[in-house]
């Protein structure tokens, strides 16, 4: 009898422990794909949410598949609203939407540059407490207005927005032009004593940099020497993800362009691969393209020698593949290979130095040197007292790049082209 009683008791408790009452059908939710925060005009904040309308059914009764006309307006709806805080804003949006807003499927958390520059520590810590917030959301800082930017997020290729969004962030591994940071690590970094947070820099490209008429030029500009929204581009997505927003104590203090971001990733050891253009060692008019990828994690050594000032030594290990050679020098041979390697090494060292000095000037340790530096302290209290993030600007950084050409593409020997001189 006692057992039966116990069983009844326990069984009656179990439903109370679970969340059966809040079961909702999938189509009772409105899933937010992108959420954005702007400075408000009629209220403190202007929030923007992008929702799929879930209208066109793949095999529905209407059949017919998807109509291409006006798909921007049809498939997704972007709602902007001025409100005091984000979550009250969501409630306000629900006064015009028949489905409960759910942000457990959000991909991007977009913040405008204004808010980022004003400091977003408080905003973020308040934000992440909610259960539905996924810390794997991608953190993006947008130049200009968030509400305009989110309207332009559309799948140009394919129809699935979420795939487009995820795929876009994977491009970090293809070109290394931005440093994708998820919400979770962004917040961790804001609160860390060892590293400063970064986020993807994005902007709308209105195609104004693409000049239809003009004098052809021989001038060479590096592929990564642009910020978001600046590419001389004509068509495609209006949204552009290029460069990195640099933070200091939760405030955005500066930007890295594509090349600087690559250097940042190299020092962090997160760089995957990307093509670089260098001037040929023998003929500076010719351009050689080299695929550079990270060989192993960089070797970082930190000492505190002169009056507690940090002395940082960074050794970056990279390897590469010859992608295209305009010159006719046989760089595949053991004789000439070191010449090309040295050239690339010098070029990359210059790139890395440039971004380190920029970071030093902004006093923002985005590279995470603090991780290594903290190992020199015996207790965490000592470390926190030292105030690394403040003293980072005083450090002297020595860099070294080791670059090896591993592969030469599909050619193993360069033969000179037969031109008129022969």
């Amino acid at each position: 009898m006692r057992r039966i009683l116990a069983l009844i008791l326990i069984l009656s408790c179990l439903p109370a422990l679970t969340a059966c009452y809040d079961a909702l059908e999938v189509d009772d939710w409105a899933y937010v794909y992108t959420m954005g925060v702007d400075k408000g005009i009629s209220n403190k904040l202007r929030i923007t949410v992008q929702l799929p309308t879930m209208k066109s059914s793949g095999g529905g009764i209407e059949g017919g598949g998807q109509s291409s006309t006006g798909s921007e307006n049809k498939d997704f709806v972007v709602i902007s609203l001025d409100c005091p805080t984000f979550y009250t804003g969501v409630n306000m949006i629900n006064s015009s939407l028949s489905r409960k807003i759910n942000y457990s499927h959000s991909k991007y958390f977009v913040v405008s540059e204004d808010i980022a520059k004003e400091g977003m520590g408080n905003l973020m810590s308040a934000f992440v407490r909610d259960r539905q917030i996924r810390r794997t959301m991608h953190m993006i800082v947008v130049k200009g207005k968030t509400s305009d930017f989110i309207k332009e997020i559309n799948p140009v290729l394919g129809t699935a927005l979420s795939k487009t969004q995820e795929g876009m962030m994977n491009m970090e591994k293809v070109n290394g032009f931005f440093d994708d940071n998820d919400l979770g690590s962004f917040i961790d970094d804001i609160k860390s004593h060892k590293i400063q947070p970064v986020s993807v820099l994005a902007a709308i490209n209105d195609f104004s940099n693409y000049k239809k008429e003009g004098q052809p030029t021989d001038e060479i500009k590096s592929a990564g020497d642009y910020y978001a929204g600046e590419l001389p581009r004509n068509d495609g997505n209006k949204t552009e993800y290029l460069g990195t927003a640099i933070f200091n104590a939760g405030k955005m203090v500066g930007e890295f362009n594509g090349d600087e971001t690559r250097a940042l990733l190299m020092i962090k050891g997160e760089y995957e691969t990307g093509s670089y253009v260098i001037h040929d060692p023998y003929n500076s008019k010719l351009l050689d393209t080299i695929i550079v990828s990270q060989q192993k994690k960089p070797d970082i050594k930190i000492d505190f020698k002169k009056e507690g000032k940090p002395d940082i030594e960074v050794k970056v290990f990279l390897e590469g593949e010859i992608q295209a050679l305009q010159s006719t020098v046989n760089y595949e041979s053991m004789e000439y290979k070191p010449i090309l390697e040295n050239k690339v090494e010098a070029f990359l060292k210059e790139q890395i130095d440039k971004s380190i000095s920029k970071a030093l000037a902004l006093n923002s340790d985005v590279f995470g040197f603090g991780e290594k530096a903290s190992m020199k302290f015996s207790t965490i209290q000592d470390w926190e007292e030292y105030k690394w993030l403040e003293k980072f600007k005083d450090s002297s950084v020595k860099t070294e790049v080791q670059f090896v050409i591993r592969r030469t593409g599909t050619l193993i020997k360069t033969n000179p082209t037969k031109d008129g001189k022969q």
Partner: protein, 555 residues
């Protein structure tokens, strides 16, 4: 209730029960009669113990305390009063008297009348009484059931031989029955019988029986020759590689099929009748010296104690001999393949083949055995292993998929990949039912079609196939009333389920899965885990014929 005890058992190790306790509560009144040798042995041991005073042998220690075995009904009666207790014995003595009356008379006409009366002649027109004179002198009659004997052997060899003129010339003072058996009757298998009851059983099973004037015994001749299905290829357990023979409804044929594979004298076949009225024969096959004698004895005991009028086929026997009627899993392993049966016997299992159904059953059984097929051993090991893993995967699909789907859609949409979620939401848009109802509708539709597919005569079966395909296909493509994902899910589940070698196993998962639905509908994934624990424990605690059911490496 059992949850707690079972959970406790999980954590606390307890000695397995020792079954040779001093006290035994028997289940039927005739229980003691089944094992007379044991009883006498027990008595002897008791006497020995008393005589020798000190005997440290454990067996005798157990028996020293032994109380005389008492049947449940006996015990009940003894509680009511001693007066009633005496009523028990008359039934036994009555049996003895009956046995005396049953003895065959040496008066032929008396025997004839007795048998005619017993068979209900002249109403019963199936039974043939053929009167004739052996060697033109000796009166006799033969009795058999029309249609169950081999006519040609009776017509062409038996009757001519018996009726020829001078066969009785050499007969001395011998009993005519012995003389006939030894020198005259050209039948390969015959025996003497002295009870009417036995004769009747034999006649009903197809033998022909010869009664001779002046003899108190009759001759039972094996002349069976009735219509039966020939050996065909298996219908429910098809294999690509391997034997293509299946059991038939005929017990003898089935035994032959097994014996043809196991050519060893150690293979023992014991025949036990089951069913009070129809006397279906159950054959118990085991490998002497390999099968556990305890299991063999227990199987025999259980089959003998079946108290029912009619036994047709193994499915009924299974239900009478299984350990726990409430257990969801099947507790015998049935197969229609002789080769598989043979492998069970070789593994030390006891196989029961029942007359009238083309299936054999093996006990004891373990969980993982239920997932095996004979083809696993016929194919090379990489593929065989893959098949077994695939089946295990199918099992998980069958149990979990629908419930998981409901739980994810109802409670945990964040667990679904975004695009999958989007397509679910889009297709759900047109469905007027909540997810659970929708899944249940699909479930019922599926089951109806399945059930119909089996029962409906094959002539109109085609129609059903088309209609079924239409319903499910339509549901799949249109998204109404069951939406595509529920459908896919349903199909994956259905296919997963029918992957089981054993149909009953599949139906067991059906019950489980319905439970899972409801749990998840109400409580989400939390209850999913709870149910899982419950079922794991449910199946961990069971023993089948004293062998742990979930035994992974057993047999």
């Amino acid at each position: 209730m059992s949850i707690f005890t079972a959970m406790r058992k999980l954590f606390i190790y307890s000695e397995p029960k020792i079954h040779n306790l001093g006290f035994e509560l028997l289940e039927g009144d005739d229980e003691g009669a089944l094992q007379p040798p044991d009883q006498t042995r027990a008595n002897q041991a008791k006497q020995d113990a008393q005589n020798s005073g000190l005997n440290n042998n454990e067996m005798s220690k157990g028996n020293k305390n032994a109380i005389k075995p008492l049947g449940v009904s006996e015990w009940n009666k003894s509680r009511k009063g001693d007066g009633e207790n005496q009523k028990l014995n008359p039934s036994q003595t009555q049996n003895k008297n009956q046995a005396q009356n049953d003895t065959i008379s040496n008066d032929l006409s008396y025997s004839l009348n007795v048998l005619k009366e017993k068979f209900g002649l002249p109403k019963n027109e199936d039974i043939v009484f053929r009167k004739f004179k052996i060697g033109k002198k000796l009166d006799c009659f033969m009795i058999y059931v029309e249609g169950m004997i081999d006519k040609s052997s009776i017509n062409l060899s038996m009757l001519p031989t018996l009726m020829s003129k001078d066969i009785l010339e050499d007969m001395g003072k011998q009993s005519p029955v012995d003389f006939l058996i030894e020198t005259v009757i050209p039948v390969h298998n015959l025996k003497k019988e002295s009870l009417y009851g036995e004769c009747i059983k034999q006649v009903l099973s197809g033998a022909s029986v010869l009664f001779v004037e002046g003899c108190t015994e009759c001759i039972v001749m094996e002349t069976r020759g009735y219509e039966k299905r020939s050996v065909e290829s298996p219908k429910t357990e098809m294999v690509v590689m391997g034997a293509q023979e299946a059991f038939t409804e005929n017990l003898r044929t089935n035994l032959t099929l097994v014996r043809r594979i196991l050519k060893t004298q150690k293979l023992v076949t014991e025949l036990i009748p089951a069913g009070d009225i129809n006397n279906t024969m159950c054959a118990i096959l085991y490998l002497d010296g390999v099968a556990s004698p305890r299991v063999v004895q227990e199987v025999i005991k259980r089959i003998k104690s079946i108290k029912t009028d009619l036994i047709i086929g193994s499915g009924m026997v299974e239900q009478f001999i299984e350990d726990r009627p409430l257990m969801l899993f099947p507790q015998v392993l049935s197969t229609e393949r002789p080769d598989r049966t043979a492998s069970f016997i070789m593994d030390g299992q006891v196989v029961i083949i029942t007359e009238g159904a083309p299936f054999s059953m093996a006990v004891p059984v373990t969980f993982f055995r239920l997932l095996h097929t004979s083809e696993d051993s016929f194919t090379r090991w990489p593929f065989g292993t893959f098949l077994r893993l695939l089946r295990l995967f199918g099992l998980f699909c069958a149990t979990l998929l629908p419930g998981l789907y409901v739980a994810m859609v109802m409670f945990h949409p964040e667990m679904l990949p975004t695009e999958l979620l989007a397509s679910i939401v889009k297709s759900k848009e047109l469905v007027p039912f909540p997810t659970l109802l929708e899944v249940l509708i699909m479930e019922i539709a599926f089951e109806l079609i399945r059930e119909g597919g089996i029962r409906i005569p094959s002539i109109i079966g085609q129609t059903l196939g088309i209609v079924g395909a239409l319903i499910l296909g339509q549901a799949d493509s249109v998204g109404r009333p069951g939406k595509p994902h529920a459908c896919d899910n349903r199909f994956g589940h259905g296919i997963g389920k029918f992957r089981y070698p054993k149909l009953q196993h599949g139906s067991c998962y059906k019950n489980r899965e319905i439970l899972f639905y409801n749990c998840r509908r109400l409580f989400g994934l939390f209850w999913n885990s709870f149910c899982h624990i419950y079922f794991r424990v449910h199946y961990l605690q069971y023993e089948v014929f004293w062998y742990s059911f979930p035994d992974a490496c057993g047999t």
